[in-house]
């Protein structure tokens, strides 16, 4: 049925191998880029075929597994390299291959002339491969392979400009923080495996088997432990509090990388993982609460930081963190479908935004380079007025911005609104719901504010670089612009496959296709919820839903208005505001000093402790004990030597002494 699904991951792997091993010899950028992009395009085609095939099946039969080979078999444990085809994985491979292809294409233009061009594309293909493994893997371990693999590629690509120390640092930070998450992932895996095995004799890590036996799991208790562990994994990968700090730093990588890895695909892996194991998470109200709260906090917190950043990519990075917070909020309130929906729309508009910013940076960089200026090409304070210079970029960027801001009619609106409504109305968190909704709504307002601040600072007003450089600003080539257009288009229309029920009813009974499509995946959760429905009661009030929708749109509009006021109409205010509240601004600008805090409470103590263990414990105590024994023996050696006086009478005394002691012991005994 899905026999050729193995092509999806294998094509990028082949691309990786060709470019990685021979890229240096090929040299021709078109060939290298063509191989890489072609491989992903191939995957995209196969993905399309796969999803079409899947859709042709009745919705109850939309699950298939394709085993490639048996990977690790030991004792009770078995993990195959096998792929799981179901609606969820299909939507993910569509996103990964589709957006991935566009970004590959874009990269050909963006990375033109870079040293290590082949290396870049090799890594990018490797990333795509890993991402496919992650989403297609039919068991936790294979998912973990992809999970680690994307982390690795992220590390490599962040550190692409390895001669910059900050790039190396950022890569390492990303990897290590991801590892902290992996620690949780592994523990979750172990606990689940051990628990199911030892209590029910079901030794499995296969998703389908786990789902089928999920009814054996209790509510709360061990499941809370398992899910919290997995959630720790998700926070690492998806940059949630407390492990979010690596993502803004990850902007050291080339911009298309940020678009692909740190916006559209990899960082959403955590969301995917939770959705994949929704039947677990739904069984632990505690974990859901934790996820929802952390998601909401992240959404709000990152948004605040986003308002004060001047680096265009950093704004987008914090925006990503914030949006991921939304997705987790969705997961936390049990709105798995909505979360995945937002994941998809976010992939469209955030990829578009990143690529757009990349086009801007690319252009700025070229211009500044020509003008021999050392100004920062990514600093928005150097930009301004670019809309005339780069009209296509501006147009696409604006569309995507509107989408993210949640203006009705654009994709972001549908997905975000669905989440906010679920946050308010879900049956899981009781009184907390209002707070969750409130945080989400405020974050939405902040999002609208900082995104439009970005647009205004970049594209409106006067250009702030030297006139000489200004002349060199120009629109990007087609290979760059084309992906922007496609993504912008998707940002606009992508939301219509998942129109919320209330709206759908109004405009003529359009169902929420997306939710329908995904519902087999969340079957077990729904069954669980149905069983426990009496215990929880959600809110179902159409009028209220409309009201809340209106409120959030209003908040977004307010945000836009403020941004317009501050950065277009009355540009003096921000400076005055900063002057009025210097401490606040400094705190926000410096990201609330979270990095410093981590350094202070974790990194430095670890290093100091390591130093102590080495210089103090290893050398002084352990080796000291060893050498101490040796030295003591040696000291005795010196002592014994001195007893050997060379004087005959002493020797005779020694003998006599020996005789006397012997005799007296044995005779007096």
């Amino acid at each position: 049925m899905f026999d050729n699904v193995w092509l999806i991951p294998i094509l990028p792997l082949i691309g990786f191998l060709i470019n990685g091993l021979l890229g240096k010899k090929i040299k021709n950028e078109t060939v290298i880029g063509g191989i890489a992009a072609g491989a992903v395009l191939g995957s995209f085609v196969v993905s399309c075929m796969t999803i079409l095939k899947l859709l042709s099946l009745p919705s109850t039969e939309r699950v298939a597994e394709v085993k490639i080979f048996s990977w690790i078999t030991s004792g009770t444990f078995n993990a195959d390299v096998a792929f799981l085809i179901d609606p969820l994985s299909c939507i993910m491979i569509m996103i990964v291959s589709g957006v991935g292809f566009l970004i590959h294409l874009y990269s050909i233009g963006y990375m033109h002339g870079e040293e290590g061009f082949y290396r870049y594309f090799a890594y990018l293909n490797l990333f795509t491969f890993s991402m496919f493994l992650l989403v297609l893997g039919n068991n936790l371990l294979l998912m973990f392979v992809g999970w680690e693999g994307v982390g690795l590629c992220s590390y490599l690509l962040i550190g692409y400009y390895f001669h910059k120390k900050s790039a190396g640092d950022a890569g390492k930070k990303a990897f290590v923080m991801n590892r902290v998450g992996d620690f949780g992932f592994l523990l979750g895996l172990f606990t689940l495996f051990w628990y199911m095995g030892s209590t029910h004799n079901i030794w499995t890590i296969r998703f389908t088997e786990m789902a089928a036996s999920s009814h054996l799991l209790p509510t709360g208790g061990i499941v809370t432990v398992i899910t919290l562990c997995f959630f720790l994994g998700a926070t690492g990968k998806s940059a949630q509090i407390p492990l979010y700090t690596w993502l803004p730093d990850a902007m050291e990588g080339p911009t298309p990388v940020s678009a692909l890895i740190h916006a559209a695909t990899m960082v959403t892996a955590g969301v995917y993982m939770i959705a994949r194991m929704n039947y677990l998470f739904i069984r632990s109200p505690e974990t859901l609460t934790v996820i929802a709260v952390i998601g909401a906090c992240t959404a709000l917190f990152a948004a605040t930081i986003g308002t004060a950043q001047n680096d265009i990519k950093r704004v987008l990075a914090y925006s990503t963190v914030s949006q991921l917070g939304y997705m987790f909020l969705a997961m936390g309130v049990g709105a798995f479908g909505a979360g995945i929906f937002h994941l998809m729309t976010h992939a469209f508009f955030k990829a578009c935004l990143f690529l757009g910013s990349g086009a801007v940076i690319h252009s700025m960089h070229g211009a500044l380079h020509h003008a021999h200026s050392h100004d920062d090409a990514q600093d928005m304070r150097n930009m301004g007025g670019l809309k005339s210079k780069m009209p296509l970029t501006f147009a696409t960027f604006l569309l995507a911005t509107i989408a993210i801001a949640g203006i009705p009619g654009f994709s972001g609106f549908f997905s975000k609104d669905e989440i906010l409504w679920q946050a308010f109305s879900n049956p899981h968190h009781g009184n907390l719901n209002l707070l969750l909704w409130g945080m989400g709504a405020v974050a939405a307002g902040l999002t609208a504010f900082y995104m439009f601040r970005l647009v205004f600072m970049t594209f409106f007003g006067e250009c702030r670089i030297t006139p000489k450089a200004k002349d060199h600003l120009h629109e990007s080539p087609m290979v760059i612009v084309f992906p922007l257009i496609v993504l912008a288009g998707l940002s606009v229309v992508g939301g219509y496959i998942g129109i919320p029920k209330v709206i759908g009813e109004v405009v003529g009974g359009i169902p929420n296709y997306f939710e329908h499509y995904l519902s087999p995946v969340f079957k077990y959760s729904e069954e669980y919820m149905a069983e426990h429905a009496s215990a929880h009661a959600g809110v179902h009030n159409v009028a209220l839903e409309w009201g809340l929708m209106g409120t959030s749109v209003l908040i977004a509009l307010i945000g836009i208005t403020i941004a317009y006021t501050l950065y277009v109409a009355n540009t003096g205010i921000p400076a005055r505001f900063t002057a009025a509240f210097p401490a606040l601004h400094r705190a926000v600008y410096n990201k609330w000093y979270i990095d410093e805090l981590y350094d202070f409470i974790i990194v430095n103590p670890c290093k100091a402790f390591g130093q102590f263990l080495w210089k103090g414990f290893d050398v002084v105590i352990v080796d000291g004990a060893v050498n101490g024994v040796a030295n003591t023996v040696m000291a005795f050696s010196g002592l014994f030597r001195l007893m050997q006086t060379g004087l005959l009478s002493n020797y005779a005394w020694s003998m006599a002494f020996g005789v006397v002691v012997m005799l007296s012991y044995f005779i007096l005994k």
Partner: protein, 100 residues
């Protein structure tokens, strides 16, 4: 006849005197004489025991001891002489070239 124990005690005392002499005296020849004293104490023991036990083994032993002592004396004195040739002393405290 004095009983066996008297002989044994006498010889033990002689042996001890010899031992103490070895331990305290510094002149090599005197030390050697003290050793001879010890050997003679042994001889006395043997003879007394032989007499007491009524067999001759002990007395035969004494002959051997005396013979051996003579041989030892010959070699020992030769060694002392050759030491004296080099060091012009037979004080054992001067025998300290090798130590530690």
């Amino acid at each position: 006849m004095a009983n066996l124990n008297s002989y044994l005690i006498i010889s033990a005392i002689l042996f001890s005197i010899g031992t103490v002499g070895v331990l305290t005296r510094k002149n090599a020849i005197v030390i050697f004489m003290c050793i001879e004293l010890m050997l003679n104490a042994v001889n006395l023991t043997f003879v007394a025991l032989s007499r007491h036990l009524g067999n001759l083994d002990g007395q035969v032993f004494v002959f051997f001891i005396m013979t051996v002592a003579a041989a030892e004396a010959a070699v020992g004195l030769a060694l002392m002489i050759s030491f004296y040739n080099n060091k012009e002393s037979i004080d054992v405290d001067d025998v300290h070239l090798m130590k530690w």
